[in-house]
Structure formats: structure tokens, C-alpha cells
Symmetry: C2
Subunit: 189 residues, 2 copies
């Protein structure tokens, strides 16, 4: 299977496209490869694209005025990701995104996304439904931050994303959960 | 201006509709009125609709196992709101939504939203773009929870939503910001 087949299959699982629609849509994506530790987005830079992860693992984070890192999200295969505020409003990024593993992405520019969504209704519905699920995931992350203990957050993460826990270094996982590495080791045992 | 004119104007500000498209779309909305303190959504109940607020103010919150209330969102005129996890997946609500003021809503059922989005491409694009902005707002709320002090959160809220601060009782605003009422009074002065 080529990378393009993977993307088509991903889109078709929500909104099937005809062959001619897909041929047209596919022209608007480009592929980008980055090595582990390279940046996909850096604070202060423009973010022309959103990204679909073909393979790899990306950490999105902010650095506060005391230099402390705060992790917003880990994203892996089949996730759409970007600094969406910077992307949607075409303003400089306020976050960093770097690769925790060698990674490969499809890139889609804002003007191309808007064009294909207005030309191919199935693509408008695809991105609408993905955005709805993304919104729900963020609502749940906020509720988790507001109401759950670190132990509950860890247990929910195991249930929802077991693959992620195996791939993310312990230090980063502890930071994401807002606990020390020692607490995380205790939770894991 | 009727309530329907307000809704049409709201949609048209993002995706204009022809008169015949609007006549068709409008048939799928119903109006609901609630008094102050009435519930729009209660935990454990099904949530058939999402809501567009014609007038009023709604608080969305969860109650943790210790009985403590955690406020996810305040929503007012022209906001789309619901327990979106429960709505999208048609499962019982995990949150409460109650009216802080007498309120009036347009209600849209999930099956009707999907129908009009598949029949009228402009509506698919409208809800897609609204969902994108909603996603960004939640990303910013998470970043704010992770990186900002209560004082920074308060100052940002004044900048972004000055109208909201005037209408929300101090006790609820303090809870939303995660501070005591005393701290809030200090911030306000």
C-alpha cells in the first residue's frame, strides 16, 4: 500500500470518494519526512499547512515564561495535527511540534483545504466530522485536567491509547500527565 | 428581526445560503425556552440535540466524586453548545448544562444535522468552519489551564469576553478560573 492509498482509505472510512474525486483531492497533498528531534512547527514561524501523520509520533507543547515545557498533545499515525490557531488564522505559531520518532506527513495548505472543501462536498463533510471528534477529544482532555487525579488520567490513557504509552518516553508521559517520573513508575506498577 | 432571521444571519456570515436553501434548512430547527436555573442537559440523560443560543447564558459543568463542581464553559448568544460527546455518540450525558439567565435556543437533532450537511454543501462547510474555531478555542483553554496563572487567565478573559464577565456571578467566575472569590476580588481591583 502506498502512502496515498493509506490516506484515501482513511478519508473513505468516513466519506467515500469516487476515483475522479480522489485523483483531484490527492493532487493537493505533499509529503514531508522528518527525523527524530526535528521540528515540524516552531514558535514564531508561520504554519501554512495542517498535517496528516503517515507514520511517526509528534509532541505538541508550549514553553511558559519560566522555561517550563507543557505538553498539549501526542499525535501518531492517522492523526491530523498542526498549531491550528496559527494555521487557521495564518499568524505565527505559539507552540512547538517536534518528532519523537522519525516521521512522515501529508501536508495540506489552508487555501487548498478550503478549495477542495468547497469543490468536493464529501471533503467538507469529512473535515467537519473529523473536527467534531477532535472537539470532543479536547473537551474530554479539559474535563480530565479539571476533575481527575493523575492516577485516573493514567488509567484512562492506557484504556484509550495503549499503543501511545508504549512509544512515548516515560519522562514525556509524566510531563503530559502532570506528575513526576517517580509517581508515574508507581502508577505503572 | 425574528429568531430565524438571527440564525440565518449567523450562518450567512460564514456560508451564504440561497432563499430556497435557507427555507429548507430552517425547517429542521425547533425553538426551546428555559427559565433561569432550569437544566438544558442533565448527567445520565440522552442528548438528542445541539443548541444555538438565541439569548441567555448557559453553564456547562461536571461534578466530581467529591461533589465538587468544575466548569467547562460558559456559553451565550450565538454560541453552539451541547454535551458534544453525548450528542455525537448518542450516549447518556456526562455533564450538566444549566441556565444562568432565562434562555432561548434553537435545537437541531443529530440526524437532521447530518441530513442537511449532506444535502446542502454550504451547511457542511458552515459546521466544519465553526467546529474548527471551536477546536482552536478549546486548545487555547487547555494551554491556558496548563501554562497560565489565575491572574493571566482573568486578564485574557476580560480581553476576549468582556460581556461575559459582567453577566456571570462572581462565585461562578472564580470557580471557572480556579481561584477563590477573595482572589478574584483582588484581581478585579
Amino acid at each position: 500500500m502506498t502512502q496515498y492509498d493509506l490516506l484515501r482509505q482513511h478519508i473513505a472510512s468516513i466519506c467515500p470518494l469516487s476515483d475522479s474525486e480522489w485523483d483531484y483531492v490527492a493532487q493537493h497533498f505533499t509529503i514531508r519526512k522528518l527525523r527524530k528531534h526535528q521540528f515540524l512547527v516552531q514558535k514564531g514561524e508561520m504554519v501554512p499547512c495542517e498535517f496528516w501523520i503517515i507514520k511517526g509520533l509528534v509532541k505538541t507543547y508550549a514553553i511558559d515564561c519560566d522555561g517550563k515545557e507543557h505538553i498539549l498533545q501526542f499525535a501518531m499515525e492517522e492523526y491530523w495535527t498542526s498549531d491550528f490557531h496559527a494555521f487557521q488564522n495564518q499568524v505565527p505559531a505559539c507552540m512547538y511540534m517536534d518528532c519523537i520518532e522519525d516521521s512522515e506527513f501529508f501536508c495540506l495548505k489552508l487555501e487548498d483545504r478550503e478549495k477542495i472543501c468547497h469543490e468536493i462536498p464529501a471533503m467538507a463533510n469529512f473535515f467537519r466530522i473529523k473536527a467534531n471528534y477532535g472537539y470532543i477529544a479536547l473537551q474530554q482532555r479539559i474535563m480530565s485536567l479539571l476533575t481527575e487525579t493523575a492516577e485516573e488520567r493514567y488509567n484512562n490513557l492506557i484504556k484509550k491509547l495503549p499503543r501511545l504509552i508504549q512509544r512515548v518516553p516515560k519522562k514525556l508521559l509524566a510531563s503530559y500527565l502532570g506528575v513526576t517520573r517517580e509517581t508515574l513508575s508507581r502508577l505503572k506498577s
